[in-house]
């Protein structure tokens, strides 16, 4: 029987398209979770102004922030899920090594992040449309600026993808040792209570960065580091069924 050679990139490509089909449930759960988020957002952030002449203005501020937060949550859960044993074993039924398995997972998560970012950003317009149609309100939208719209999608995708990398690392750690199931939440909650300043610093470091290029560099490096750590952890894992 003639021997075949396998090329890493070819294999990753095959695994990626296989995962898109195999993990279709993850995509549909993204749609579901975003719909729920839209429902939550329908109330909008409200307020009212009244003048001395008896004129009262009620306003609602509709944003996709809740949808984005929900999408990030989805990203975290999905990233953790695909590091679990059943998902890793799907790869080992066919042709794989640990690197190609992780790379195709990352590609899948990137796809999910982009998709989630696009739909989350579009959901703002959906919200406004619903408000206009059903709530009899006058909608004032900021002027539609295409570059800003795209920038918004890219930024949200990067945030979501970064959350994916965190989830992937958590998942990888848990696969190595089950005690991380407890340890990780303890660390996170502990850091919220004890080191409030750490969170604030993190927030300032990433979110408050005014320069887009710096933001891009910061978040990409962070994401890459998390993924690299995960790959090197998962690279040593054995397949046990």
């Amino acid at each position: 029987m003639s021997l075949s050679t396998a090329n890493l990139m070819e294999t990753v490509k095959k695994q990626y398209s296989f995962k898109l089909k195999a993990n279709i449930d993850a995509i549909s759960s993204l749609v579901g979770i975003q719909l729920v988020a839209i429902l939550f957002s329908l109330g909008g952030i409200g307020g009212s102004l009244s003048s001395s002449e008896g004129l009262q203005i009620n306003f609602n501020y509709y944003s996709a922030d809740v949808v984005l937060v929900f999408t990030m949550f989805w990203a975290l859960v999905t990233a953790i899920t695909i590091t679990t044993k059943p998902y890793r074993n799907h790869d080992f039924t066919f042709v794989t090594n640990r690197l190609s398995s992780s790379l195709s997972n990352i590609l899948f998560l990137l796809t999910g992040s982009l998709l989630g970012a696009v739909t989350a950003n579009l959901s703002r317009y959906l919200l406004q449309l619903i408000a206009f149609l059903f709530r009899d309100q006058q909608v004032y939208s900021g002027p539609f600026d295409f570059p800003v719209f795209i920038l918004g999608i890219v930024m949200s995708a990067l945030y979501i993808f970064c959350v994916c990398s965190i989830g992937y690392l958590i998942g990888a750690l848990v696969q190595v040792n089950k005690s991380f199931v407890l340890l990780v939440p303890v660390l996170i909650i502990g850091s919220i209570f004890l080191g409030e300043s750490i969170l604030v610093q993190l927030f300032q470091f990433y979110v408050m960065e005014p320069n887009f290029v710096f933001f891009l560099i910061k978040i990409l490096i962070t994401t890459a580091l998390f993924f690299l750590a995960s790959i090197s952890i998962l690279n040593r894992m054995e397949v046990r069924r």
């Binding site: 396998a6 294999t11 066919f94 794989t96």
Partner: protein, 300 residues
């Protein structure tokens, strides 16, 4: 050409040694049966070959490369057992198509014929199949992938007898048309012994025997008769199995190294000489006691 080479290969889980410095080589395009009792390390050995599990010490070469985490090993080998895991979102037909994209030698026409013959519904899902049907589907994937190294770990789990026979025959016919290196572990040596060329017998984490099955069939003989006439022949020989039949008749299995003349002499003494079935012999060889389960009931 040898395609699999092990040198003092060991594997330990935590502190328990499963494989203990085993060495052997497997030649290209042979069908080898991996035989041994439960928990002797068959699965562990096969998984190391497939690159799933990492060896603790020693060396293993599959197609002249170390299999662990090796893409080259992965594309040229397939590991089939009843735990093979497939995504629950895909239908059986889609799984076959996925397999086709990954395995370069995959024969879709052949896979479809087997699929039809065994009455699979292309729209069913893998996780809804029964135990025997799961094994059958996995076996189809294993045969149709036509990997130069094909590993079956207990492939017939749950299959009924008719399917088991069909499976062995399908494997053999496809092997004749497309020779490849095949390893099968099974508890049912008697039903697959005709299929095998070699036998790799594991005992206590070691390779106990690695010989052609035809040699295994002649490896030992059974002597049956009056204890007084049988026992002299076993002097100075390793008794593999001994069983008392009735009052003073006895059945003894020893290594077949008697000469023709000695055999004739034994027959004249009233000793009945019988060949020992390969599967029985394997049980005798791998058991720790000489009398088997009967020893439990002695001297109570």
């Amino acid at each position: 050409m040898s395609v699999i080479e092990c040198r003092e290969l060991s594997k330990a889980y935590l502190r328990k040694k499963v494989l203990n410095q085993i060495s052997f080589t497997i030649e290209e395009n042979k069908i080898t049966g991996v035989i041994g009792r439960n928990g002797v390390g068959k699965t562990t050995l096969l998984k190391i070959m497939a690159g799933f599990t990492k060896e603790t010490s020693g060396e293993i070469r599959v197609l002249e490369q170390r299999p662990f985490n090796n893409l080259y090993t992965s594309v040229n080998s397939i590991f089939v057992d009843d735990q093979m895991s497939f995504p629950p979102a895909l239908q059986l037909q889609e799984l076959l198509e996925a397999a086709q994209t990954f395995y370069p030698n995959w024969d879709m026409d052949f896979a479809q014929r087997l699929f039809k013959y065994f009455n699979f519904d292309p729209k069913h899902y893998h996780n809804t199949l029964s135990k025997g049907r799961t094994s059958t589907f996995n076996a189809i994937v294993g045969i149709a992938a036509r990997c130069p190294i094909t590993i079956f770990d207990e492939p017939t789990t749950g299959m009924d007898e008719a399917v088991r026979k069909d499976f062995y025959r399908a494997l053999l016919k496809d092997y004749i048309d497309h020779p490849r290196t095949i390893l099968i572990s099974s508890h049912h040596l008697e039903e697959m012994e005709d299929l095998l060329e070699d036998v790799l017998l594991l005992k206590n984490g070691k390779v106990h025997l690695h010989i052609p099955i035809s040699d295994l069939k002649e490896w030992a003989i059974g002597l049956q008769g009056q204890a007084s006439s049988v026992l002299p022949w076993t002097e100075g020989k390793e008794v593999l199995y001994q069983n008392q039949i009735g009052l003073n008749a006895t059945y003894v299995v020893i290594k077949n190294d008697l000469s023709e003349a000695e055999l004739a002499q034994a027959r004249l003494n009233g000793v009945k000489i019988t060949p020992v079935h390969a599967s029985d012999l394997c049980i005798y060889l791998t058991s720790d006691t000489k009398g088997g389960i009967d020893d439990v009931f002695i001297n109570r």
